[in-house]
Symmetry: C2
Subunit: 381 residues, 2 copies
C-alpha cells in the first residue's frame, strides 16, 4: 500500500509528531527523525524500510501511522506546549542548542519553558538522597560559578540537583537550566513546581519528552545524556556507585567534555562515586576557582566565599617543592643551578660567617636540596 508523496507533512511537523508519540522508543525515534528522507513518503513496504533504517518493524509501522496523521498530532503537542508557557525547538531550528548537535543521535525536539542561556555552562549533578555536605558543596559551587556568569545545568531532582539550581538562583544574575526526566506540565518531583517557575524565569526548563508525559525509570539515563551535552563539563558532587550521576559523567567523557569530582569520606556511600572518578583520573576539585580557571582561563575570577578561601594552592606547591626559608634559602639562592660553590665563597657573597653558611648547607643537604662534592664544594641537587 504505497503512500503518495503529496500526503507528506513538512519535516518539522513530522519530527514534532514523532517526538510526541510515546509508543515510539527513544532510540528508534532518534534514528527515524534523523533520516526522514529515507522513509517518509517512500513507496517501499514498511518491513523493507525497517531493515533499511535499522529499526524494529513494529516501530517502523508506528512511525508510518504517525506520519499519516502528523499535522494533527503535532498541532496537539504545540497547543499543549503553549498552554504550559513553553515552545518547541526542533533540531535545526535557530534556538536549538548547538551543543546537543554533538550527540550522534540528538533529541529531535526540545520543549523549552524560558530561554536556554548562551555562554559557558557547567552541569552539577549528584544524589537525590544527599546530606548537609553535599547540599553545601552544590550550593557553593553553583552560586560561585553562576556569579561568574556560568549557567548551571542540572536534572531538577531532589537533593544535589535542587541545591545546584537554588544555588544558581541565589547568585545575582545567576542562570540555570533544568533538564527533566518527564514531560513539561507534570508536577515531578512533587512540590518542585515553584522551583520550576523560578528556573524558567532565570533560564529554562527543558524536556525532550512529550508534554505531560509521566516519568519512567528509563527516562533518566536519556535525560542525563542531554544534561552532559548541554554543559562544557560535569561536576559530580555525591553519587553512589552505579548511580545516574556517574552515567552523566560517562556521557560527558564520551562527548570529550570535562568531568570534575568532589572528594568525600570513604565510609560515605555517596562519596564512593566521585572518589572512584578521581581514581580514574577526574580532577579532584576543592574550590569553584579551579573549574573557572579551566573554563574561562582569561576571566577575572570574582571573590569566592570565605568557607574555603584558604584553598591550598600554595600548600600544593609547597608539597612539591617547599622553598627553604630565611638564611638557608639565601644560601641555596647563592648556588647557581649547575655550578659548584665553596662555603667560603657563599659566605663572602652573603657577608655572613662561614659557620652559619656551613650550618645552613648541612640542613639543605639533609633536606636533599644540595649535594656535597669532594673538596667540600656544593651544588644544587
Amino acid at each position: 500500500m504505497p503512500r503518495t508523496p503529496s500526503s507528506n507533512p513538512d519535516p518539522r511537523t513530522l519530527r514534532i509528531a514523532l517526538n510526541a508519540t510515546p509508543a515510539l522508543s527513544r532510540p528508534a525515534l532518534y534514528r527515524l527523525a534523523q533520516d526522514l528522507d529515507a522513509w517518509a513518503g517512500s513507496p517501499e513496504p514498511p518491513d523493507r524500510l525497517a531493515a533499511i533504517l535499522g529499526v524494529p518493524r513494529a516501530q517502523m509501522r508506528r512511525a508510518l501511522a504517525v506520519a499519516a496523521d502528523a499535522a494533527a498530532v503535532a498541532g496537539r503537542e504545540r497547543a499543549a506546549a503553549e498552554r504550559l508557557g513553553a515552545r518547541l525547538l526542533v533540531h535545526g531550528d535557530p534556538g536549538y542548542p548547538a551543543d546537543l548537535g554533538h550527540l550522534s543521535l540528538p533529541p529531535p525536539v526540545l520543549c523549552v519553558r524560558g530561554e536556554i542561556p548562551s555562554g559557558p555552562a557547567v552541569a552539577i549533578v549528584g544524589s537525590r538522597r544527599t546530606d548537609a555536605y553535599g547540599q553545601e558543596v552544590a550550593d557553593l559551587f553553583a552560586k560561585s560559578l553562576a556569579a561568574a556568569g556560568v549557567t548551571i545545568v542540572s536534572g531538577f531532582a531532589r537533593g544535589i540537583d535542587a541545591a545546584a539550581h537554588r544555588g544558581a538562583l541565589a547568585a545575582e544574575g545567576g542562570r540555570t537550566v533544568a533538564v527533566l526526566g518527564c514531560g513539561l506540565g507534570v508536577d515531578y518531583p512533587a512540590g518542585h513546581e515553584p522551583l520550576g517557575r523560578e528556573i524558567a524565569a532565570a533560564g529554562a526548563l527543558v524536556s525532550e519528552f512529550p508534554c505531560g508525559l509521566s516519568p519512567r525509570s528509563w527516562h533518566f539515563p536519556v535525560r542525563n545524556r542531554v544534561i552532559a551535552a548541554l554543559a562544557s563539563g560535569t561536576l559530580v558532587v555525591q553519587a553512589a556507585p552505579r548511580s545516574g550521576s556517574l552515567l552523566t559523567a560517562r556521557w560527558a567523557l564520551d562527548l570529550g567534555r570535562e568531568v570534575w569530582a568532589i572528594p568525600g569520606r570513604i565510609f560515605d556511600e555517596r562519596s564512593l562515586g566521585p572518589n572512584a572518578l578521581i581514581r580514574d583520573g577526574a580532577p579532584l576539585v576543592q574550590h569553584p576557582r579551579e573549574i573557572l580557571e579551566t573554563l574561562l582561563p582569561n576571566a577575572r575570577i570574582p571573590p569566592m566565599p570565605a568557607s574555603i578561601s584558604q584553598a591550598p594552592d600554595d600548600e600544593h606547591d609547597e608539597l612539591a617543592e617547599p622553598p627553604p626559608d630565611g638564611f638557608p634559602g639565601a644560601v641555596l639562592a647563592a648556588i647557581p643551578a649547575g655550578a659548584l660553590r665553596l662555603p667560603e665563597e657563599i659566605a663572602a657573597g652573603l657577608e655572613a660567617p662561614v659557620d652559619q653558611v656551613l650550618g645552613a648547607l648541612l640542613e639543605l643537604e639533609l633536606g636533599g636540596r644540595v649535594r656535597r662534592h669532594p673538596g667540600s664544594a656544593y651544588s644544587r641537587t
Copy 2:
C-alpha cells in the same frame, strides 16, 4: 694541639657519645658520625677539620671535646637505655634497620625498646587533632594491615598516630613501631606511657634522640624522616596544609616509597592535605585491600571489615566500561572486534527475532558501543 691516636675511642662508642650530646646539631652529628675517620684522632687543627667536613667550627670543637670523653659519655647513655629496658643500635650493628641506611645521612644511633619487626611495614600518619572519621580510618587500616602481617609505623602522637598504633595492637598478632620525637623515658605525650608499654611488647618504641631528652619542635621533622624511611609506604589519613604529616609524605616520596592518601571533605581543613596529595598524583585509597595489593601482590588478602567491604572496585571498572546487560550484551558479543555484521546475521546466530536485535543495536548505538555503516551493517566502536 694534636691529639694522639691512642686516645681514640672505638667507632661504636664514639657514635653513641656523639649521639648522646644534644649540643651537637642533628645535621652536624649525622655528618660527623658518618666520617669518623676524617676527624677522630686527626692531628689537624679543629677549624681545618671543620672546613674539611663541612660543619660549623663550633660544632667541630664540641665533637672533639666529646671524643676526648667518649667512653664516659657513651657509658652513661648505655646505662640510661638499660634502665629504660632499651638498647642502643648503632648504624652498622646487625639489628640496625637496613631501610634507614637508604637515607643519605642516617641517624647514627637508635634507642630501641622492644624489637623492630622484620617484614613489610606501612606508616600511617595524620593530625594530632582528629575527629571520628580520622580515628575510624586509622583504626580500620591499621587493624586490617596488621592482621595481614604488615607492621604499622607511626609517630606516637595523639590523634591519628595513637589510633594507628592502637588499631595495630587490636589485630591478632599485630605489630607496630612508634618513632618518638623525644628521648626514651620522657612521658610525652603525657599519659601515653601505658600505650608505649603495649607497643614495646608488640613491636618497638624507637628514638634517635638521647635518653630522657625533652621534645622540641624541630625534633618532629627529624622524627618524620625516620618514620618514612622505616616503611615501604606512608598513608596520610588527615593532615592540615603545611603539617608534619605532609613532610613525612615528602620524605617517603624522596626515598622512592609509596604515598597513599585518604580523601575527605573539602570544607574539612584536615582533609586538605590528603586531597592535595591526591591532586598531586598520590593514589586515593578507600580500602586497606588496595594497599595490600601494592605491597604484597601475591598475598592472600584476609577478609576485611564490613564497613567498606563494598569498596567499589567493580563499579570502578563499570565506570570505565559498563558491560551491556542481557540481550544487548549478547548482541554486542555477537559482533567480533574489527568485523561488520548485518542484523539478520546476528539474529540468526542468536536465534532471536530480527526486530529484537535491531532494538538492541539502536540501544548500543545510542550508548556509543556500535557504529552503523552504509548497508545497515554494524561494527563495534
